[in-house]
Amino acid sequence: MTSSKRRLITFVIIGWVLLLISDHVGPLRLYQGSYVATYTLAVASIILLTGYSGQLSLGHGALMAVGAYAGALAIDKATLNPILGLIVATFVAGLFGLILGFAVARLSGPYLAGTTLALAVALPTLANEFEILGGQQGLPFDVGSSPERFGEEFSQYKWYFWICALAALIMIWWIANLVSGKYGRTYRALRDNPIAAELSGINVGRQKVIAFAISSGAAGLSGGLLVILLGGVSPSAFPLGVSFFLLTGAIITGLYNLKGVILGGLILVALPEIADSLASRIGESEGLTNSLPDLLVSALLILAVVFTPNGPGQILKRHHSK
């Protein structure tokens, strides 16, 4: 059996198990599970861009916003089916990434980081400028209730979970195929030694642009999923913090390996909860409850990048080799 077939079967089994589990857990867990799926996809898009093609993006929140707005417009104004809306979100964000990629792919390191950071700040404010985007209130992103054939018992949260989990699984499966094949080898070559890669005939600029476009598309889809859960898209749904938050998830997971990507999603959902319960135990002050999650995320980001820059798998491997 080839590895791509094995991967397909693995993903189908994961999906099937997830759907089975969704019958047996409460609405809160389903809701959290939807967030885990959404964040996992976003983290995967960052790993593809930063880990595999070596481009550090600090503005993934902006790419998610592009997808979210495109999907919301498609559903709200063009009255498309919500599932088609998510596909629109993916492709519009991908196209946006393609165009942006042409502008920024020749930038390296700090320039790219700063430019994407500026994008993350600039883009959400732009939404206020256009009436069709709904200004401060934003737009609804309504996926409706579950199809009737699923029966009366099928709760709204389960419907959300199904959409998020399946969308994330399909997209991550596609990315996993991509990075394990020819593209993956090309990206690794690019990342490890761009000059050698160029000498062996790789069109460095083009590969970087492609990576940017695919990563944007995945980010756009996760943006669409996120605003399903938030109930709508508005400029305030994608603050700068979202981009940093997701980058933290990617670094904790390990930038150079897609396998552990679910860990990133789990941590990103669990951390704020842990911080909340910690904060309520320490004190009731508003500053504490608001700032403790950020403090934990930032501390974890530094610890991860200093001690396990290649992901937690690195520690396990080191122990093995001893």
């Binding site: 390296s108 430019t115 700040v121 600039a122 508003e286 608001n290 930032s298 200093v306």
Partner: protein
Amino acid sequence: MNQFITAVLTSLSSGAIYALMSISLVLVWRSTRVINFTQAGQAVLTTYIGYGVIQKTGSYWIALAAAVIGGALIGAVIDRFFMRPIFKRITSGPIALIAPVVATLGLLGIIQASIGIIWGISYQSIEAPVSTDGFDINGQVIAFNRFNLFVLATVTVTMLLLTILFQRTNIGLALRASAYSPEIAKLSGIKVDAVRTFGWAIAGAASGLAGMLYIPGYYLYPNAMDLLLVFGFIAAVIGGLDSLIGAVVGAMILGFGLSFSRTYISTEILFPTAFILLIVVLLIKPDGIFSAKKKRGA
């Protein structure tokens, strides 16, 4: 006509504050090859220190001095006890290019969250030490005041002092030498590490000054300087990231661009204007206006 004069004057005073930020970024970039995102945290932390001093003493001037000195100390401490160990630890592999930048982001988050825990997240304000009533031109009040003038004067004097420091003193020569070629500077007997920490201290002082000059027109809260950081970065890129003069010129270009688009188009398009300016410069002249001969590498 008055509208035009106002736009020019506010361009100058806001450009002056962007210049302080972009100079801080360039100073750190030249010595460390890192875009220091912590700069926003350093600026806001020193401004909170200034705010605390004002609460105690009631004097803006003592607070200004405290913020500048505190900024220098914080900058030096961050380089010596945070950045240097990270550089020593992570030396190879693709992560070596990313880790320092990410570390500065993490430290930014830690500083901002700590401020939120210590001082709370509600808006504070700092009173300007001089009048903020607009000047009167031919009976019409314009949106440019004594405090803006003070900002402009302070930044001009600071730039002159920095120029003297860099061009006329031994430590300035050492700073330029270690930025230009750390290896050769080391061989010539310059203590590159110490010089680098000194560069961080100057950058920290400048960002402290930027905070104290910026906040009286706005509010003080943990994320108050994020936009200033982005504007400072854009200004630095316009100027070429490696050049101090370029940083100032870039800041002025940005100041004029933003101020004029705000006056003549709309107040809402501030960030899009800045972003478009950035992209245009990167497309036309990716090495910035005052680029050094080196190609831009990581």
